[in-house]
């Protein structure tokens, strides 16, 4: 969406660094929004803290502000550092955020290869082509 896709998404994907201090910051930042594991019965106790983050990698969460997926690794790209290498800085509501480039997104979607990812590929490739043309001009 941030890269110009017209597809509507229902969740927010966030890739995070697995360094200890960052895990603590992430747990602290998400805690006011009461994160819970998605598609897991309510009766399973869950607390997104340092220990939970250390024992897992990718979490699909439901929060008070919507669905958030936090990814220690992105399929087809790798860890936070590798994702960062194929990201660009975008100003979003006045805040500079690192966002996966179209090329990075295409690589990840190809690797995931689920029907919903493959469906979006022609659009992403067209957007990359438009972007390439803009850079030339």
């Amino acid at each position: 969406m941030l890269q110009g896709s017209a597809y509507v998404t229902a969740d927010f994907d966030l890739c995070y660094s697995r360094k200890r201090d960052n895990l603590e910051k992430l747990a602290h930042a998400l805690s006011p929004f009461h994160p819970l594991l998605r598609a897991i019965p309510d009766q399973v106790p869950f607390r997104l803290d340092l220990s939970a983050l250390r024992s897992g990698m990718n979490f699909t969460l439901t929060t008070d502000v919507g669905d958030v997926d936090i990814l220690g690794e992105v399929t087809g790209i790798g860890s936070y550092q590798q994702v960062e290498a194929v990201s660009e800085v975008m100003e979003i509501f006045g805040v500079n955020c690192k966002v996966l480039t179209l090329e990075g997104l295409i690589k990840a979607k190809r690797a995931l290869a689920r029907a919903k990812d493959l469906r979006i590929l022609p659009e992403l490739e067209a957007l990359a082509e438009i972007r390439k043309g803009e850079k030339k001009n």
Binding site: M1, L2, G4, S5, A6, V8, M90, E91, I92, F93, G94, V99, P122, E123, E125, A126, L127, A128, E129, I130, R131, G133, E134
Partner: protein
Amino acid sequence: MPQTQNELPPALKRASEEGIDLSQLYERMSLTPTERLRKHFRMAAAVRELRKAGQKHRDRNRSSETA
């Protein structure tokens, strides 16, 4: 934006053949990321309203059938 299908680079030609509205892509690329998000939020709000209206309509039909 190129004028004819033959002038299009392969990725755009493929997208067009898949039924993707290229004018929509050019328009979105002309926006800032924040503007793209705002547009998405407006669209999501419109979908929510449509869903609510549909539900209201179904509820009304159901209650008139049982009356």
